[in-house]
């Protein structure tokens, strides 16, 4: 149980300011001593200190000792982004018997020292934002977190090796697991593979027993042919709607006797499991070890569904397991956490015309080669044993202009393994590997590469330029880049090691649970290094190839990590809910209901002539605040007083013109942090004020900003974080909100060019380049005269 301590409350707040050097990260640009000096003179500040690393034990002890010694009741910490160390510093003040909400953090690293080069201006800006925080600290109030119970169940999306291991791990810990798979059987890509590198274990032999374990586990429910289509609720209490396609075969009745398939007249249905190299019937068992062990009808190829007559399979089934009337249905499950393990697809190499994929049956992908290895190693065209086989690497990988920009990571090892197995299959065969760089970094990988060279596999460094069918054989042209000469060679079979891409629908399923995809299309983890399997939302995790191409070992590692993260989250049985919620000032409220209409979460109802906020549904977005005509609503930890204090504080900056960037806290603020992390630069005229959403900032706040001396305002909003509203509707309302403020300000003679807006996503954080434009536009805008400011002040005081 966390200690939420006693609070010293006096009429005059006693504030301590603690400024971090961050080992030079801050102090190389910001004159920390000067900031300390300025801070010590700010109203209410009792003590101002600096330290090399405030987050170190020494730094934290400094804060704790100061709180006790000077009887501080507010702490302002100027350091890195609160996304990094807010918890650390809150814990420290709690240890010093202070309520955690009486701590205020100032971001002078990501949003100051890392984005500015002018040392003097950066120092001035740092002083201004510290002043903003000190002023705000005067109005901070102690708050108590609330608690909510959590569902002890997890949905795992994707039944490949990652999904299987995440499910088993969680089920063995006692959690109820729903394993949701889009295909008719679990198993995933790994079930299509021959052997796994570098140990050469049989892929199906090692995975199939785990699949059986999943099927028999009392805590796991496998839901096949299903996809999540809607996710609502919040961390610990998600409600997921699944769309389940009909199988047309009763799983519990089917004995896999194969009588139905024998009767099926549709014998030439492309077989996905065989990577298109073989055919199946319209009613089929996905593969021999399929789980659930039951047949399924492919309605796109079934004669009955296409022509309305046949049903031969139903007649053949002695158990009456086939039901043509089954319909698509929707099911809702309640889960506490969600793990995405949606896997990969093979990139189709057809756009690379010079490789002639599809023009000759003996030009295959590496996945197809896996199936050839498992079916006697005969080439597709004439079912003869190929002698000379070319393995072409980087087909669509490492090709920003002709495929994917990234390295698909495992293709080098796949090619090594395939060449090795080929050589094992036919000792007289002649595998050639054409590579750009041989990437064999991993336990036992380099050793395997050495073994391959010992086995007589030929390696040529050079990206193949052309693959041309040439009568019975295939001609390949390449430069041997180590010799600098062109080589032309004929081959019996050509294997294209194509790029690996996120499986179809990764982006869509990610969006359901607030997980963005990066520029490569794979899911984005919360922190690349330190939270590598976490999603942006609490209780959402990802594992395996959904996060990027990787091998079986790494997928299993991530699956276990994600399972561990989920059980850590659910293990407490309850979750802390932020107390940052809207509340009603009953005396002022006249029950007009504007707020109730506007609330995206329907958290406000009008009861007995007054608005009432439901604290469980309220997400603290603050959209309702500026909408209230009587200012009867307020938001805890972001009250009107607190926000205005910050605005007036920062506006005393000496860096002119001064532009306030009201920045949405979830995406916008993190985007600004990423901008700093990237060491990109913007002018120190920009001062960021964090707000729950930009719509919490109304005309009144903007007027106050101009009255206080600001010269411009920019709204930084998340492109797709509208608390339940669709992206289009959210953006529409955002634009309306901003243009309305522009219109109103024009009445006071303030140039509309002084108000700008931008919507960002995390991968597009560079959109904040707009800050440069903003500063230039404000500099070029019609000046704000003293009369204008005086008039605004007059209106505000009236």
């Amino acid at each position: 149980m966390r200690r939420v301590g006693v609070i010293y409350m006096s009429n005059e707040p006693r504030i301590g300011v603690f400024i971090c050097h961050c080992g030079g990260n801050i102090s190389n640009v910001v004159d920390v001593e000067k900031v300390r000096e300025a801070a010590s003179k700010m109203p209410g500040v009792v003590i101002a200190e600096t330290n090399q690393y405030m987050c170190s034990k020494m730094g934290l002890d400094l804060i704790k000792d100061a709180v006790r010694k000077y009887r501080l009741d507010r702490v302002v910490e100027a350091a890195c982004t609160p996304r990094m160390h807010l918890t650390t510093f809150r814990r420290a003040v709690v240890e010093a018997e202070l309520n955690p909400y009486l701590l205020e953090m100032v971001n002078i690293r990501e949003q100051c020292s890392w984005v500015h080069t002018d040392k003097e201006a950066a120092t001035e800006k740092a002083i201004a934002i510290v002043r903003g925080a000190v002023m705000r600290a005067h109005h901070l109030e102690p708050l108590q977190p609330e608690y909510m119970p959590v569902e002890r169940s997890v949905m795992v999306v994707g039944g490949g090796v990652s999904g299987i291991f995440a499910s088993l791990e969680l089920a063995n810990k006692g959690y109820q697991v729903y394993l949701v798979e889009r295909k008719p059987s679990i198993g995933g890509r790994m079930m299509q593979l021959s052997k796994t590198f570098p140990t050469l274990d049989c892929s199906t032999c090692i995975l199939a027993p785990r699949m059986v374990e999943v099927a028999q586990h009392p805590n796991i429910k496998i839901i096949t042919l299903a996809e999540p289509v809607k996710v609502s609720g919040s961390a610990g209490n998600y409600e997921v709607t699944l769309r389940i396609k009909p199988r047309y075969v009763d799983v519990s009745n089917c004995t896999s006797c194969d009588e139905c398939a024998k009767k099926c007249p549709m014998k030439r249905v492309p077989n996905e499991y065989e990577a298109g190299l073989a055919y199946k019937t319209a009613i089929y068992l996905p593969f021999p070890q399929a789980i659930p062990q039951a047949y399924v009808i492919d309605p796109e190829h079934c004669l009955f569904f296409q022509k309305g007559t046949c049903k031969l399979c139903a007649m053949a089934c002695s158990r009456g397991a086939i039901n043509f009337d089954e319909k698509e249905r929707f099911e809702t499950i309640k889960v506490g956490a969600i793990i995405l393990a949606t896997g990969i697809d093979i990139w189709d190499p057809s756009p690379l015309k010079e490789y002639s994929y599809g023009l000759h049956p003996d030009i295959v992908t590496n996945l197809q080669f896996e199936r050839l290895l498992l079916s006697g190693m005969l080439r597709p065209s004439d079912k003869k044993v190929p002698k000379k086989v070319a393995f072409i690497l980087c087909v669509g990988s490492r090709s920003p202009e002709r495929g994917q920009p990234y390295c698909s990571k495992i293709c080098c090892m796949i090619a090594l393994k395939q060449a090795f197995l080929l050589k094992e299959f036919h000792a007289e065969s002649e595998p050639w590997i054409f590579y750009t760089d041989m990437r064999a970094a991993g336990k036992g990988y380099e050793e395997f590469y050495t073994r391959c060279r010992e086995h007589g596999i030929k390696f040529v460094r050079g990206r193949v330029a052309e693959v041309k069918p040439n009568g019975g054989s295939i001609t390949l042209r390449v430069e041997d880049t180590l010799l600098g000469v062109q080589i032309e060679e004929n081959f019996d079979l050509v294997v294209l090691s194509t790029a690996l891409v996120p499986s179809a629908g990764t982006k869509e399923v990610g969006q359901l649970v607030g997980m963005d995809t990066g520029p490569d299309g794979f899911l984005l983890e919360k922190h690349y290094k330190l939270e590598p399997v976490d999603g942006a939302w609490t209780g959402v995790y990802a594992a395996g190839c959904a996060l990027g191409p990787k091998d079986v070992r790494e997928s299993v590692l991530e699956a276990m990590s994600a399972a561990s993260r989920a059980s850590t989250f659910l293990g407490g049985g309850r979750i802390e809910v932020s107390p940052e919620k809207a509340f009603v000032l009953k005396d002022l409220c006249d029950g007009c209901g504007v707020c109730a209409q506007l609330c995206p979460k329907n958290a406000i109802v009008i009861s007995e002539g007054k608005a009432v906020v439901n604290p469980v549904s309220c997400v603290g977005c603050g959209i309702c605040l500026p909408a209230c005509p009587r200012q009867a609503l307020d938001l805890k930890h972001n009250t009107e007083k607190q926000l205005l204090a910050t605005i007036y504080g920062v506006c005393q900056s000496n860096v002119k013109p001064l532009i306030i960037a009201f920045t949405e806290k979830v995406v916008g603020y993190r985007a600004a942090d990423m901008y700093g992390l990237d060491r990109r630069k913007y002018p120190p005229n920009i001062v960021i004020i964090e707000v729950p959403t930009t719509r919490r900032v109304g005309l009144r706040h903007v007027l106050h900003a101009f009255a206080a001396g600001a010269d411009g305002v920019v709204f930084v909003e998340a492109e797709d974080n509208w608390y339940g509203l669709s992206k289009e509707e959210g953006l529409r309302q955002f634009r309306n909100h901003v243009s309305q403020i522009q219109r109103e300000l024009r009445k006071y003679g303030v140039d509309a060019a002084r108000i700008m807006a931008v919507a960002v996503t995390l991968p597009q954080y560079y959109k904040l380049e707009i800050f440069d434009t903003v500063v230039n536009r404000v500099k070029g805008a019609k000046p704000i005269t003293d009369e204008i400011r005086a008039r605004i002040k007059e209106v505000l005081s009236a």
Partner: protein, 191 residues
């Protein structure tokens, strides 16, 4: 085997060479440092067999800043402008444009491409006059007198078989002349 028999010494390196080339190529120049020596350009090149450096090696020499070897290479003159390299480059480097720019740079510097420059000028002169290539006239202009005399017999055989003509047709010469005028006008404008 590899034609790279040169030893690259510090005095051969012009540290501004790559930057100059990039600047001249504008937007396209930004891609030059992306080359990772995969060799798809040289593998695709139909005339690489005749070059002293393959296109990939030229890219490497550009990176190293060995201006002298690049501008005196046969590569830039042999480039047939087939665009295979530009189309297939996984990094989107327009090698054909690089070769063109290198040619321009060589022509601007009296140290390089003397013979090529002379050939280009004479070629253009012939085309401008006749509206098309006149092999006999071009041969006589480009080759030294002794070579012309030595090959008279061979030329006579070609003539007898109708492979070359002494007075080629001049049809559409006026239209070609117009093209020349227009190109020259734009060149002047550019300057």
């Amino acid at each position: 085997m590899s034609p790279v028999t040169h030893k690259i010494t510090p005095e051969m390196i012009d540290p501004t060479f790559e930057a100059t080339l990039k600047k001249r190529l504008g937007e396209k120049g930004k891609k030059i440092p992306l080359c990772f020596q995969c060799g798809v350009c040289s593998g695709s090149c139909p005339v690489a067999f005749a070059m002293d450096f393959t296109p990939r090696q030229i890219m490497e020499l550009i990176k190293l800043g060995v201006k002298d070897l690049v501008l005196s290479s046969s590569t830039i003159w042999l480039c047939a402008a087939c665009y295979s390299c530009s189309v297939r480059c996984p990094q989107g480097i327009d090698l054909k444009q690089v070769m063109d720019t290198l040619k321009e740079m060589a022509l601007e510097d009296p140290k390089y491409g003397k013979a090529e420059k002379a050939f280009y000028e004479k070629f253009i002169e012939v085309v401008r006059r006749n509206g098309r290539v006149d092999e006999v006239a071009l041969y006589v202009k480009v080759m030294p007198k002794s070579a012309v005399m030595r090959n008279l017999g061979f030329g006579l055989k070609l003539y007898q078989k109708g492979k070359i003509k002494l007075s080629p047709s001049k049809s559409s010469a006026d239209q070609v002349a117009k093209i020349f005028e227009k190109v020259l006008a734009t060149e002047v404008q550019k300057q």
